[in-house]
């Protein structure tokens, strides 16, 4: 009854092409933003911010990045972890070499570094597709992490081999380092996600998004109508890696505080891929929903047995997690290959008719 678009007439193409053409959607999004900015930081405790919300926001950003590449442009990548690592290490190098540059600017700069690396590893995509490309991106995954491990320059020859977030401020408030509060880090992550999600949405609904989808759906036909495969695919790699790079920088500087290359190993790549699949290939909203699901499941698994007074060793928990992830992937691909995003759409359709069956 409440969710109706009857009476909302679109009188211009601009209105028809808006991100949220229906007024109820706009209210809903506004409400979520108000809660996320105005309520959550005051009610959520340290644990929730640090263990749930911050990783969720960061992974959502990485998932959007991978979704641009895999879901929109159709280029399968298993190297997400490596591109995130590039962002993290680039931030570390830049901020230790030039402490005077604002840390948030450094995040974006690192994104561009990751974009460059992404383009290099995207070059094979011009000749190879599908699984072949997946294997090629594995080369990025293993080679880049090995490089960061072996070459001391990347971690400033630090004997522990880790990169640690130094204290940095933004507008006089401590943003990174041990003294930065979880609330601050949460708000920064949230802002990054909101801005970059909007930018991604704009990209995919315009010329570039259409070119990506055309390449995904039928690359030969795309080329014949004038889309250049070279530029289109490399741009997808660049922008996707930019997102992953920023997410990687945030992983170390806003979430973990310090990390080694293990924080970005191949399981991270898989995890982000799962978010994209479960959330919905080719959907920005889906990437965020998928990230929420994949970050919440382990939290639930570690806490659920304690709630019913059942002791659970951690490795057992890890294996159950594997089973649930694996099972969910297969389940989703069978039942709804378009993931949460599609379920969300169906729910909206139902809501539009409710309480009538048709």
């Amino acid at each position: 009854m409440l969710y109706r678009e009857a009476g909302q007439f679109k009188t211009s193409y601009a209105k028809d092409q808006a991100v949220f053409p229906i007024i109820q959607d706009r209210w809903f999004i506004a409400l979520i933003l108000v809660v996320a900015y105005g309520v959550v930081p005051f009610v959520a405790n340290e644990y929730w911010l640090q263990a749930v919300l911050i990783p969720f926001l960061i992974f959502a950003l990485a998932a959007i990045g991978l979704n641009l590449l895999t879901g929109y442009a159709g280029q399968l990548s298993l190297g997400t972890g490596a591109f995130m690592a590039v962002g993290a290490y680039a931030t570390y190098k830049i901020t230790t070499a030039f402490p005077e540059i604002n840390i948030l600017v450094v995040f974006v700069m690192s994104g561009f570094v990751a974009a460059g690396v992404g383009v290099v590893f995207g070059i094979p995509s011009l000749r190879i597709k599908g699984f072949y490309l997946a294997v090629a991106t594995l080369a990025a995954q293993f080679f880049i992490l090995w490089l960061f491990n072996k070459v001391g320059w990347f971690y400033n020859d630090n004997p522990s081999g880790t990169i640690t977030a130094p204290p940095r401020t933004f507008l006089g408030i401590m943003v990174t380092g041990p003294e930065a509060t979880a609330e601050t880090r949460y708000l920064i992550s949230l802002t990054f996600l909101v801005i970059f999600a909007l930018l991604a949405k704009n990209l995919v609904r315009g010329r570039i998004g259409r070119a990506w989808m055309a390449i995904r759906d039928m690359d030969v036909a795309a080329e014949i109508i004038g889309i250049r495969p070279l530029q289109t695919k490399l741009l997808a790699f660049a922008i996707s890696s930019f997102y992953c790079g920023v997410a990687g920088a945030m992983t170390v500087f806003l979430w973990l505080g310090s990390a080694e290359t293990e924080a970005f190993d191949i399981f991270v790549s898989f995890q982000v891929l799962f978010m994209v699949i479960i959330g919905g290939l080719g959907s920005i909203l889906g990437s965020i929903l998928g990230a929420a699901f994949i970050t919440l499941v382990p939290i639930f698994l570690t806490n659920a047995p304690a709630l019913v007074n059942l002791p659970m060793p951690t490795d057992l928990g890890k294996h159950i997690e594997e089973i649930i992830f694996g099972g969910m992937i297969i389940f989703f691909l069978i039942v709804e290959p378009n993931g949460f995003a599609r379920l969300w759409q169906i729910a909206k359709e139902k809501l539009r008719r409710w309480p009538f069956p048709y």
Binding site: L76, V135, A136, W146, V220, A221, D315, I330, I334
Partner: protein, 311 residues
């Protein structure tokens, strides 16, 4: 100049100085390569017959080895444990066909590929919960003595592994080329719908091919497990068979073998002679980089067919 020396001169001098050592490196590479080939073989079988790129082949290797060790630890004699594990792999093929492949029939290859990534996680989790995740020793009674031929140290176990692989490949080649089921398998690989139209029972074919791949996985699991213990890292090593496939082509059984040998020998030589120049541990990525370079110049692999695009 120094760099040129380290990269292009010194390694070859080292090789020439100690030919016996070089031979040993090559042989150990060949044997690692045989192991990769065995895993790759499972991939090729499934890809050839169902067009599915089975990412879970590595997990199947781990699952088979875990099941075998688990049964033996519970006092089951070796021969019975082998039969039992083979039966489990066939049962697994049934379940996979029923639960995963049948509902995904006619979906795009990429969807099936992702489903097998899910299967990979599922099998790892189930295997380790059922049989435990600690490192286990697998001893199925293969002799493991070393002997010398012309100053080169050889190991009976390795020779045995190579022999098994050769026999397996021979049997599979005959199976694919000469039998009616083999022909049906190739037909299904070409076109699911066309195969159905001429009356090939798709589901039966899939069960057969996944069973065969399961048994190949068991053989690979025994070899790997007996050599380096049954543990989680087995499924990671199996990832290495992906570059093997790129080299060999996804549909070629001889390609899987030769690709495996190239990767096995290549990465051993690279590690020993060039590794120090790079700071070591280049085994971890060498195979992937080799595949990447290879892809740029010959995307269809050594033995794959040239792709002609039409509209």
């Amino acid at each position: 100049m120094d760099l040129m020396n380290i990269l292009f001169i010194a390694p070859f001098l080292d090789m020439a100085d100690a030919p016996v050592f070089l031979a040993e490196v090559v042989i150990s590479g060949v044997l690692t390569g045989v192991m990769y080939s065995l895993v790759a073989l499972g991939f090729v079988l499934i890809f050839k017959a169902s067009g599915v790129f089975n990412f879970a082949q590595g997990a199947m290797v781990l699952f088979a080895a875990l099941t075998l060790v688990g049964l033996m630890e519970r006092g089951v004699p070796v021969w019975l444990a082998l039969i039992g594990t083979a039966a489990v792999m066939v049962a697994l093929a049934f379940v996979i066909e029923r639960v995963m492949l049948r509902p995904l029939i006619n979906q795009e290859g990429i969807i099936l590929f992702m489903a097998t990534i899910g299967l990979d996680f599922l099998l790892q989790g189930v295997g380790q919960i059922a049989w435990g995740s600690n490192v286990k020793v697998l001893n199925v009674g293969i002799p493991n003595k070393s002997f010398e031929v012309g100053g080169i140290l050889l190991n009976e176990f390795d020779l045995f592994a190579a022999l098994i692989a050769a026999v397996l490949v021979g049997v599979l080649a005959v199976f694919f080329q000469k039998t009616a089921i083999g022909r049906a398998l190739r037909a299904v690989a070409d076109d699911h719908q066309a195969a159905l139209a001429v009356g090939i029972p798709l589901t039966t074919i899939w069960v057969i091919v996944w069973s065969v791949a399961g048994i190949v996985a068991l053989v690979a699991g025994i070899m790997w497990g007996a050599k380096s213990g049954v543990q989680f890292s087995l499924s990671l090593i199996a990832l290495k068979s992906l570059p093997v496939l790129i080299l060999g082509g996804f549909t070629s059984i001889p390609g899987a073998i030769i690709g495996g040998l190239i990767i096995g020998v290549g990465e051993k030589i690279a590690e020993i002679y060039w590794g120090p120049a790079f700071g070591g541990a280049i085994e971890g990525w060498f195979a992937y980089m080799l595949a990447l370079v290879f892809l740029l110049f010959r995307p269809q692999g050594l033995f794959g067919e040239r792709i002609i695009e039409r509209v």
